[in-house]
Amino acid sequence: MNFIKKYLIPRLVSYVLVIFLGITAVFIIPRLIPNDPVQRTIQALRARGSLLDPGTMDGVIRDLTEMYGLGGSWLDQYGAFWSRLFRGDFGVSFFQFPTRVNVLIGTAMPWTLGLMLTTTFFSWTLGNLIGGLAGYYSRKTWSRVLDTITMVIRPLPYYIFAFALLLLLAYVVRWFPISGGTEIGRTMDFNWELVKDILWHSTLPALSMTILGGAVVFQTMKLIVQNVNAENFVQYAKLSGVTEDRIVTKYVIRNALLPQITSLALSLGQIFSGALITEIVFSYPGLGYLLYNAIITGDYNLIMGITVFSIVGITTAILVVDLTYPLFDPRIRYS
């Protein structure tokens, strides 16, 4: 009971509030800007050279007003906005008219999810393992070399790092394909060839995200381990003759991992943005690339759909990581 009251309820409340706040922001932002999205869309249509007679134009304006949910007072609009979200209805995409936004997001989602899950897993595990060892053996040469390398990689933003890797490994030495998720024109029937092709095209995006994410994990882990190292219980273990392997894995790294779980939860949002940006660099067919096309074609519905999906997805993921925390920390007991 105490666990529910002290741990679960506050987290659930803030989870709901954050989603509420984020989606309200998505609702308000377009309405704060002093120009009419309907007129802008019409202008964009005209600029592309489509000529419409006045009757059709009125119809288009009515449809657009309804689609953007711009009829009635702000309060009515707000209510309508939420009821559409609960039905999971984001309207129709302009960029691939008349496909529904949901369908587009549904096809792109597995790519982003796959990329993000694998890279987060690898960067977190490898970063913690190598960072932990480097922190424990911080005076060895290899530890110092790794430290210097991460000092160079860490400050680079996702776009610049991915782009530099692309230039180096796909243009200068042609080891990897330049863009895409598969070879052009490959049909999506499931077979071994397809899996191999997808893995081959995903290597470079995954590599760039893993290195960049891993560098951050490595650095924080190394610092935490260096601090744990100075604690009395580690000294005591050393003096009482516990083997070094056991000290590193069972005493030092295990204790240092706990804050890393929290920081993983906090950084999920950034990792997600990073995945979107990396996809844009490599034209990888996930949500990021969809977002890119939506921006280029001014497809506001699609952008809104992606944003709402991401807010809900990321906050849920953070909640899940947060809720598993007591499983790892034996000191938290609510009974």
Binding site: S14, L17, V18, L21, G22, A25, V26, I29, P30, I33, N35, P37, S138, R139, M151, V152, R154, P155, L156, P157, Y158, Y159, I160, F163, A164, L167, Y171, Q226, L266, G269, F272, S273, L276, I277, I280, L291, Y292, I295, I296, G298, Y300, I303, M304, I306, T307, S310, I311, I314, T315, I318
Partner: protein, 283 residues
């Protein structure tokens, strides 16, 4: 002077200081640009680097060297606006939340945490799309500053929380010092080094986001920045055409800038925190 001498002993500080000095000189040089940097077709197109055109020219017919100088300056201006304004927000929020406590603290920190958790990159893309027509350096800087204060407000808040428990706070309050004076005169000196080192990190974050937004075409493409330079080079297929001087200039400059800013902030914060200084020496 002693502080500077100590700092220069760290090779990272020395190196990043020199690189930043170089970039700053480029930024200052931009005021002597021989033509209007927003104009196109002022010099012959697609020339390799030579003694007349130090870094070559691009397909737009612009001199890449002068473009780069302006780009560095404009990127620095954006990041300074973003960094300084968000520092003001972070100090205000952090101090009010830390000093007042109670529900004010909870509400402010909830907003801050929400900004950390929500993928704000997407929210920013939405905003940038809508203000596209009015987009310039100042608007972009302000937009970034609105999203960049959350983490640092939290850091300042926890500093204030610990300062509030100290003896001198009681002395000041009991001897009749007003809240604003107390916070400004007594607490601010403790917060200043923190504010400075977060300023550098925040500037680097802002430059990175500017590049990303520019790649998406969401900023004013006529104003040269590191991001717009890269966007033009990619759009004109500078890689496939082998115009390496065009594509490499913004990439190398931004890599240098990011590393220099990061090393500067790391060496300064290590200097400020003696515990990490001891760790570096290996005691």
């Amino acid at each position: 002077m002693k502080i500077l001498r100590d700092l220069f002993r760290d090779f990272r500080f020395l190196l990043s200081f020199c690189v930043l000095l170089l970039l700053l000189m480029m930024a200052l040089l931009s005021f002597f640009t021989p033509y209007d940097p927003t104009l196109i077709g002022v010099v012959p197109r697609d020339l390799k680097p030579s003694s007349t055109y130090l870094l070559g020219t691009d397909t737009n017919g612009q001199d890449i060297f002068w473009q780069a100088c302006n780009a560095v300056r404009n990127s620095l201006i954006i990041s300074l606006i973003a960094g300084l304004v968000s520092r003001v927000i972070a100090i205000l929020v952090g101090m009010v939340a830390g000093y007042k406590g109670g529900w004010v603290d909870r509400v402010l920190m909830f907003f801050g945490d929400a900004l950390l958790v929500i993928p704000i990159f997407l929210i920013m893309v939405m905003m940038a799309m809508l203000v596209r027509e009015f987009m310039n350096l100042v608007v972009l800087g302000l937009m970034l500053s609105f999203f960049g204060w959350a983490w640092d407000a939290r850091v300042i808040r926890s500093l204030i929380l610990s300062l509030r428990e100290r003896e001198f706070t009681n002395t000041a309050v009991l001897s009749g010092t007003g809240t604003i004076r107390l916070v400004w005169n007594e607490y601010m000196p403790y917060a200043t080094p923190l504010v400075f080192s977060t300023l550098i990190n925040n500037m680097s974050w802002a430059i990175g986001l500017e590049i990303t937004l520019a790649i998406l075409g969401l900023v004013n493409m006529n104003i040269p920045t590191l991001g717009t330079m890269l966007n033009w080079a990619i759009n004109y297929q500078a890689i496939l055409l082998g115009h390496w001087w065009w594509i490499l200039t913004p990439v190398v400059l931004s890599v240098l800038l990011f590393i220099a800013l990061y090393w500067l902030s790391v060496s300064i914060s290590e200097y400020l925190d003696p515990r990490t200084r001891i760790q570096r020496v290996g005691a």
